[in-house]
C-alpha cells in the first residue's frame, strides 16, 4: 500500500447518483474521489427500465415526486440530450383500469405541473398499432428514455475536467472512525487485490440499496428496504412511444422503447440482500400476462432476456408500517439525505437514499448543498445549467444513427464485431482506450456489445480476440488464457439472463450458440480447466 490519498470528499458508489454528486462537488471546487466496487452503472442504475419519467406515474400518489420528475426531465433534456430519446409517453386506460383514476388523471397532472394532453384513441392506435385496440382513453405526456451508462460517463468526464477523480473496481472495505469523524477509508482493487488508503474530509454514501452495508462500517444503522424490480427485454420495439397504463402502479404496466429493444417493467418484491435474488419463470409469465393488457400480442413477441434491479427504498424507521412492508410501492420515491452528524453523531458522513434515475441530478444537488454547508463552501450548484461534455445542445438520441453512421462508412457485416447492435472495431478500440483492463461485460455497457438477439453468440469470440490482440501489444504474456476467460465470463453472464425466458426462437438461438461454442469451439474444455476466480459470478442477471 502506498501513501494515503487526500481528498476533500469521498463518494461511495458509481451509479447515476454517485456520478451526479461527484460532478456537483467538483464544479463547486471540492476535490473529490468516487469509488465503485464494479463497473460504473453496474448496480441499480444499469438495471432499470430506461425510463425518463414525466412524473405522470406519481401524480396521484406522490405529487412531490411527480414535481421533481418533470422539473428534472426538462433539465436533462437540456443538459444531456444525447443520452435521451424523446419518445414521448402515452398513459392509456385499458378496459381493466378503474374510471375514477382515469377521470382524475389529467387534473392531477396539471396540479403537479406535468404536461398532459388527452388525444383521440384512434390517433394513438395509428401511431402505435400494436397497442390494445380496446383502450378507452389516451393521455400524452413528455416521457422519454435514457441511456444510463452514457449519462454516468458524461458526469464523470465533467468532474474529471474539474479536477476530480473516479475509480472503478475499487471496493470500499473499511472506514476508520475517530470519535465523531471518519478519518480514513480503505479500498481494495477488485482485480489486483491491492489496497489503497484514502483520507477524505467528508464521506458521502451513494451506495443505494447497499447503503446499509456502507453505514455499518462506522457503526451507523441505515435500514434499507431493497425492492426487486424484474423487467423483460423484447427483441425489437413494438412501440416507439413509452406506454404506461393509466392506473395505480402495479406489475407489468409500462413499456419503454430503449435503443433497439423494448423493456417491459416491472415488479416490486422485497428482498433481504440486494446481491441475492432470482428471477422465476412464474414472474416472467405474470409480467407478460399483465403486459398483454397493453399489447395483446406480447406473448408472441420474441423475448431476449429478463433482468432485475434493486430499488434503494428507504423509510425512516418510525414510519415503517406493516402495510408499507407488504408493498414497496407505498414508500415515497422521493429521496432523503441522511445527516449522520445530527442522527448518529458522525459529523462528516451523509447517505443519500431513495430517489430514481430521472431525479439523480436533483438528489446530488440536495446532498451537495448539505455537505457544502457543513464544509463552509458557498459556491452555488451549476449542474442544471451547464451542458454535459460530449453533448450537442438539442440533439437527442436517434435510433437509426448507428445504422446511418455505419452505412456512411460503407456499411456491411465485415466491419461489425457485434452485428445485432452494430458495434464496430473503432467503437471497441475507442472504449478500450478509455477503459483499460475492462471486461467484455464492461464493453457491453459502454457499447451495447452482445445486447441483441444472439445475446453474444456471434460477437463474444470476436471481441475476446480484440481484447487478446490489444493485451498482446501491451505485453501481456498469456493472451490465450485472457481470451478464454473473457469468453467464458461473458457467455455465462449473457446466458444467465436468458434462462428465465428461454422458449421459442430465443431458445433455438441459445441452442445454436451452444452448438457453436460447445460443439464447434470446444468451450467445455475451458470449463474443466478454469480457475476458481474465473468462475466467480456476479449474482443477478444484467441487462
Amino acid at each position: 500500500m502506498g501513501e494515503a490519498h487526500a481528498y476533500d470528499v469521498l463518494v461511495v458508489g458509481g451509479g447515476a447518483t454517485g456520478a451526479g454528486v461527484l460532478r456537483d462537488l467538483a464544479r463547486r471546487g471540492l476535490r473529490t474521489l468516487l469509488v465503485e466496487r464494479g463497473d460504473y452503472g453496474s448496480g441499480t442504475t444499469g438495471r432499470y427500465h430506461g425510463l425518463l419519467h414525466s412524473g405522470g406515474r406519481y401524480v396521484a400518489k406522490d405529487a412531490l415526486a411527480a414535481r421533481e420528475c418533470i422539473a428534472e426531465n426538462r433539465i436533462l433534456r437540456r443538459i444531456a440530450p444525447a443520452s435521451i430519446e424523446d419518445t414521448g409517453g402515452y398513459f392509456v386506460a385499458t378496459p381493466d383500469d378503474p374510471d375514477d383514476y382515469v377521470d382524475g388523471f389529467q387534473a392531477a397532472c396539471i396540479a403537479a405541473d406535468v404536461d398532459c394532453e388527452e388525444i383521440p384513441v384512434v390517433e394513438a392506435l395509428r401511431r402505435e398499432p400494436a397497442l390494445n385496440p380496446g383502450i378507452r382513453r389516451v393521455f400524452k405526456l413528455p416521457d422519454g428514455s435514457v441511456e444510463p451508462w452514457q449519462l454516468i460517463e458524461s458526469n464523470i468526464a465533467d468532474a474529471r475536467a474539474h479536477g476530480s477523480d473516479a475509480w472503478s473496481y475499487q471496493r470500499l472495505v473499511g472506514m476508520e472512525r475517530d470519535g465523531d469523524r471518519i478519518v480514513a477509508a480503505m479500498l481494495r482493487d477488485e482485480r489486483s487485490g491491492s489496497l489503497t488508503r484514502v483520507t477524505p474530509r467528508f464521506v458521502i454514501s451513494c451506495a443505494g440499496a447497499w447503503a446499509g452495508q456502507i453505514a455499518a462500517m462506522v457503526n451507523v444503522t441505515v435500514t434499507m428496504h431493497p425492492g426487486k424490480g424484474t423487467m423483460l427485454i423484447f427483441n425489437q420495439r413494438m412501440t416507439d412511444t413509452v406506454i404506461n397504463r393509466c392506473h395505480k402502479s402495479s406489475d407489468g404496466d409500462i413499456m419503454v422503447p430503449v435503443h433497439t429493444v423494448a423493456i417491459l417493467g416491472t415488479t416490486e418484491q422485497r428482498v433481504e440482500d440486494p446481491d441475492q435474488y432470482e428471477i422465476t419463470r412464474d414472474e416472467v409469465a405474470a409480467l407478460i400476462r399483465q403486459g398483454e393488457k397493453l399489447f395483446p400480442d406480447l406473448g408472441n413477441m420474441r423475448l431476449l432476456r429478463a433482468y432485475a434491479g434493486v430499488r434503494p427504498l428507504y423509510q425512516p424507521p418510525a414510519e415503517v408500517t406493516a402495510a408499507a412492508m407488504k408493498d414497496g410501492r407505498q414508500i415515497s420515491r422521493a429521496h432523503t439525505v441522511l445527516d449522520h452528524g445530527a442522527m448518529d453523531g458522525v459529523e462528516n458522513f451523509v447517505t443519500i437514499v431513495g430517489g430514481k434515475l430521472t431525479t439523480f441530478r436533483r438528489m446530488a444537488e440536495d446532498t451537495v448543498d448539505m455537505v457544502c454547508a457543513k464544509l463552509g463552501v458557498t459556491e452555488p450548484c451549476t449542474t442544471a445549467d451547464a451542458i454535459l461534455p460530449n453533448q450537442v445542445p438539442g440533439k437527442t438520441y436517434w435510433l437509426g444513427h448507428r445504422l446511418a453512421d455505419h452505412e456512411a462508412e460503407g456499411g456491411g457485416d465485415a466491419g461489425l464485431l457485434c452485428e445485432c447492435e452494430f458495434v464496430t472495431r473503432p467503437m471497441l478500440d475507442d472504449f478500450l482506450d478509455r477503459h483499460p483492463g475492462c471486461s467484455l461485460d464492461d464493453m457491453r455497457r459502454g457499447t451495447r456489445l452482445g445486447m441483441g438477439p444472439c445475446q453474444g453468440g456471434f460477437c463474444t469470440f470476436r471481441a475476446a480476440g480484440v481484447l487478446a490482440e490489444r493485451a498482446g501489444h501491451a505485453g501481456v504474456a498469456d493472451v490465450a488464457e485472457l481470451a478464454d476467460r473473457a469468453i467464458l465470463g461473458f457467455l455465462r453472464e449473457r446466458f444467465k439472463g436468458t434462462r428465465p425466458i428461454a422458449a421459442g426462437r430465443q431458445l433455438q438461438e441459445q441452442w445454436m450458440i451452444s452448438g457453436v461454442y460447445e460443439g464447434g469451439l470446444g468451450v467445455e474444455s475451458l470449463i474443466e480447466h478454469e480457475t476458481p476466480e474465473a468462475s466467480r459470478e456476479v449474482v443477478g442477471a444484467q441487462r
Binding site: M238, D297, G400
Partner: protein, 446 residues
C-alpha cells in the same frame, strides 16, 4: 387487429415483426446471388432483420427534428435485387425480401423518385408510348449514341437488354379480333380462363400471348382478356408503393368478379402472377377479400398445364423436337413454390433434351439489372448461367420470365423463348405430321 392476426394476413407490419424470427444462421446470405458478387450489397440478413431493429415507426415513419436520415437510416438495401431467394430459403420464416422492399419504399418515401426509377416503374406508360411510335422507339433503343445519352442522363445502362416494341398492343389486337368474330357467349369457368397478359405480352411479346391462347384452346379453354393494367411489380421494385397500390386495386376490381365466378386467372409472366398471388397482400398490405380471392384463383400457365396433365386432361400429342434445350427457372418462379412445371412439361415432348441450368438468378431481377450502377452486378450474378448456356451449344434456350429472357439473349446471343412457345412448336410438329391427339380423351376412343 392484433399482431397475430397481422402475421396471418402477412401484412406490412407483420413483415417487419418477422425479424423476430431471425436466429442469424446466415443461410440467407449463402443463397443471395447479389451479395455473392458485390460488396455493395451487404446481404439479406444485414439489410433485413439486422437493420430492421434500427428502423423506427413501422406504421408511420416518425420525423425526428434535425435528423436528415429520419426516414432512411440505410442506403445499401437499395442493392437488393428483390429476387426473393432469401425468403424462400429462411428456415425461420423471416420475410426478408419483403422487408427489404418495404424498407426501400420507406427510404424513398417523401423524396421524389428518380426519373429513371419512376420511368422503369411505369412499364405500362412506357409500353403505350413505345408501341405508338414503335418504329422510332425501336430505332432509338437500338441506337448506341442514344443509349449512351440515356445512360448519362437517366442512368439506364447502355448495354441493358431492351425488347422491341410491338406494332400494336395485345389489347387492341384482341379487341379487333373480337369485333371481327362478333359477340359470342362467354363460356363458363370450366371452358374458359381469364388471361393476365402483363406488360410484356401486351407491348413487346404478343407471340407469347398467341402461344398461350392457342395452347389453351387446344386443351379446351377459351381465353377471356379483360381490360387490365400493369401488375405493379416494377413500381414496387422501385419503391413507389402508392402508385403500385392504385394498379393493384384496378386489377383486383376487374379480376375479382371473374375469380368469384370460379374462373381461373392464368398468366404467362411468373413475376406478374407472383405479384398477384403474394405481393398485393404481403408488400402492398391490401387485405380486402378481393385480394385473397384473386390470389387463390391465379396460376402460372405452366403450373396450370401441368395440373391439367395430372388430371389426365392435357393433350399430350406433342411432336418430336430433337434438340438440347437449356432451361432457366427464374427467381420469381421459385417464389411461387410450385417446383419447375416447365421441366415436367418438357419431359412430355419426345426427343426434347431439356436441362435445368440450376442457377438461382440471371441478374436482371425485373428492372434491377437495367440500371447503370447495377448492370455490372446483374451481369456478374448471371455469369455462371450465361457460361453454361453458351457451353451447351444449344440453338435456343427457355425461360418463363420475360426480363430474364431478354437478359439471357443479350448476354449469350442465344434465342430464348417462353416454355409454352416450345410446347406449341411441338404441337405443330405433330400437326404437320398429321398426328392425332394422344391424350386420355383420344385414348378412350381407341
Amino acid at each position: 387487429m392484433t399482431i397475430a392476426e397481422l402475421i396471418r394476413d402477412a401484412s406490412e407490419e407483420a413483415v417487419g415483426y418477422s425479424s423476430d424470427e431471425c436466429i442469424k444462421c446466415n443461410v440467407c446470405l449463402t443463397v443471395c446471388p447479389v451479395a455473392r458478387v458485390t460488396d455493395l450489397f451487404p446481404g439479406p440478413k444485414y439489410v433485413g432483420p439486422q437493420a430492421q431493429r434500427f428502423r423506427t415507426g413501422r406504421a408511420q415513419p416518425v420525423q425526428v427534428p434535425g435528423v436528415p436520415f429520419a426516414l432512411s437510416p440505410d442506403v445499401t438495401v437499395d442493392y437488393c435485387s428483390g429476387c426473393g431467394l432469401c425468403t424462400s430459403a429462411c428456415p425461420a420464416g423471416v420475410k426478408i425480401a419483403e422487408m427489404n422492399s418495404q424498407s426501400r419504399a420507406r427510404m424513398k418515401a417523401g423524396k421524389r423518385p428518380k426519373l429513371r426509377d419512376w420511368g422503369l416503374g411505369q412499364t405500362d406508360l412506357v409500353g403505350r408510348v413505345g408501341v405508338l411510335f414503335s418504329p422510332i422507339s425501336n430505332w432509338a433503343l437500338a441506337n448506341r449514341p442514344i443509349r449512351a445519352i440515356m445512360e448519362t442522363t437517366i442512368g439506364i445502362h447502355r448495354e441493358a437488354p431492351f425488347p422491341k416494341f410491338g406494332r400494336r398492343t395485345l389489347q387492341s389486337t384482341w379487341k379487333r379480333r373480337q369485333q371481327r368474330r362478333g359477340t359470342a357467349a362467354v363460356p363458363g369457368p370450366e371452358r374458359a380462363i381469364v388471361y393476365f397478359h402483363g406488360c410484356s405480352a401486351n407491348y413487346y411479346e404478343q407471340h407469347v400471348a398467341d402461344a398461350a391462347i392457342e395452347i389453351l384452346k387446344r386443351n379446351g379453354f377459351e381465353t377471356i382478356i379483360p381490360e387490365q393494367v400493369c401488375c405493379g411489380l416494377p413500381l414496387i421494385s422501385n419503391g413507389i408503393y402508392t402508385e403500385a397500390r392504385q394498379r393493384a386495386h384496378k386489377n383486383l376490381d376487374v379480376l375479382a368478379p371473374y375469380a368469384r365466378q370460379g374462373y381461373r386467372i392464368i398468366g404467362t409472366s411468373t413475376s406478374c402472377t407472383h405479384t398477384i398471388k403474394a405481393e398485393y397482400r404481403e408488400m402492398l398490405d391490401i387485405h380486402a377479400d378481393d385480394a385473397t380471392v384473386v390470389a387463390n384463383a391465379t396460376w402460372d400457365i405452366c403450373e396450370f398445364l401441368l395440373d391439367l396433365h395430372e388430371q389426365g386432361r392435357l393433350d399430350t400429342g406433342f411432336g418430336r423436337l430433337d434438340e438440347d434445350l437449356p432451361y432457366h427457372a427464374p427467381c420469381q418462379l421459385r417464389s411461387h413454390g410450385i417446383g419447375l412445371p416447365a421441366m415436367e412439361l418438357f419431359a412430355l415432348v419426345p426427343g426434347l433434351r431439356a436441362a435445368d441450368m440450376d442457377h438461382d438468378c440471371c441478374g436482371i431481377a425485373g428492372t434491377y439489372g437495367m440500371k447503370k450502377e447495377k448492370y455490372p452486378i446483374g451481369m456478374a450474378v448471371g455469369a455462371p448461367l450465361f457460361d453454361k448456356i453458351k457451353a451447351s451449344g444449344a440453338p435456343e434456350a427457355a425461360c418463363d420470365s420475360e426480363t430474364c429472357r431478354w437478359q439471357i439473349e443479350k448476354a449469350t446471343g442465344t434465342r430464348t423463348r417462353h416454355p409454352i412457345e416450345i410446347l406449341l412448336q411441338a404441337y405443330r410438329v405433330a400437326d404437320a405430321a398429321g398426328g392425332t391427339k394422344r391424350g386420355p380423351l383420344a385414348a378412350a376412343g381407341t
